[in-house]
């Protein structure tokens, strides 16, 4: 268990939506349209964002829009809460320190 997991969350239910291509920190990955950005990122990555004050990795916590620990940058939008934001084709998400548009 010592090496970093490929992704944190695991999809266990069949999707009935098309696979679309999104970009995470410039890397193209596939995700299902309509699932949450949190799932799309954490299915591939061990973390969603890095805490502004310590740089520590974070991957959300409450998963229901309350703890605000899953804010990511989405190009053209700005900050967005990953657990309540649905994925659409071409979405570009950054897990780093917020960049300005």
């Amino acid at each position: 268990m010592s090496e970093a997991p490929r992704g944190q969350v695991v999809r266990v239910k069949r999707r009935h939506a098309p696979l679309v291509v999104i970009e995470i920190d410039g890397e193209q990955v596939e995700a299902f349209a309509g699932e949450s950005v949190l799932v799309a990122v954490l299915a591939h990555r061990p973390a969603l964002r890095h805490l502004e004050f310590s740089g520590e990795p974070r991957a959300g916590f409450c998963l229901m829009g309350a703890c605000q620990d899953c804010w990511v940058e989405i190009e053209g939008v700005g900050g967005a809460r990953a657990c309540t934001t649905p994925v659409s084709a071409g979405l570009r998400v950054s897990t780093g320190w917020p960049r300005f548009g």
Binding site: E52, F53, W71, G78, G79, P98
Partner: protein
Amino acid sequence: MTTRLRTEVAIIGGGLMGSWTAYFLRRRGLSVALIDKGEIGAQSSGVNFGNLRLQGRHPGQIPLALRADAVWDRIVEHLGEACEFERGGHLYLAFDEAQMAKLGHMAEDMFRCGVPVKLLGAAGLRARWPWLGAGVAGASWSARDATANPRLVTPAVARAARRLGAEILSGTRVSAFAKDGERFRLATDRDLEIESDALVNTAGAWGPQIATVFGESAPVFAAGPPQFVTEPLPYFIGPSVQAADGRVIFRQVRRGNVVVAGYPRGASDPVANRAPVDPARTLAAMQSLVEAVPRLAGTSVIRVWSGIEGYLPDMLPVIGVSRTTRGLLHAFGFCGHGFQLGPGVGLTLAELLVDGGTSIPLSDFDIGRFAGEVAHDERLSREFDSASLAATGWSAAGKATLP
């Protein structure tokens, strides 16, 4: 059993003014009790915007402000901590020629008072702060202006005063006042009576309640600006910035959050101890913020607050000796501009009590000025919402009289 406390000076109101006064009185060797009905620095002293601004002040306040500025310069020596004090400078933004002309007049006033203020055109401004919005026509710049964290300052001052021997009595409400010969006797809601030679009223928005006991008053109206803060962002802003018409005021703290305020101010409730913020005002100030700094458009606001600040119709505080009662001093109603002045007020009140006089001109701030009609400051209609102004009872003719 009731405890009796004998002190040379009793100060009512443990905000910034009361705490600095306690500190400087102890430095001058007087015994002091600082009394507050609640917590030290919990009201407007603790929730204000945090500007330590010199430019744009009423010229009559500048001697006091410069005196305060010298203390702020040595904040660590005084308090043992910096409380996020930083000389980041202050910009007034003009969005049109008329505002720019006003800033020009202000800069001349400041120059005469010994505060250097530089005027900047749009090109010069954007060269230095490229993130400013396209609507900004020019600005005035005061490099000497500073900011500090208001949540931390007042408790730190009170701690410094206590280290010097001041008695800090929080959670203590004065329930009755008496002047017995040369002495003040204060009854409290605890088993504690306080006897003092002098009494200092630094009770902020609650100041008139104490003044009234001694037969004088000031038409204080409690209000506060809507304030809010964004999520933390990479540090980029630098100076403290204020639209000349007050529609938005902002600064970024080193941790990254952008602290924002914006006029109009709205009424707050000193009785229920509430300072509600109309969400529509927050939204309006957010829009003005994006106009001033377009790149903030993608960020979010995470917290809104206001405060219970004491305002007077001429937008000047009450500072000085009582007209009715020997040994009584007032310093309240700072009209949202008191944070910077705090140490200057403390030093000056200490002088009045110890030396019997001060070189700082205080006549503009005399409590007696409200005996007749007092002209309204032109900022009132601009910086306050009309509903809260109507609630003040100040006459519509632009004059205020005591009820």
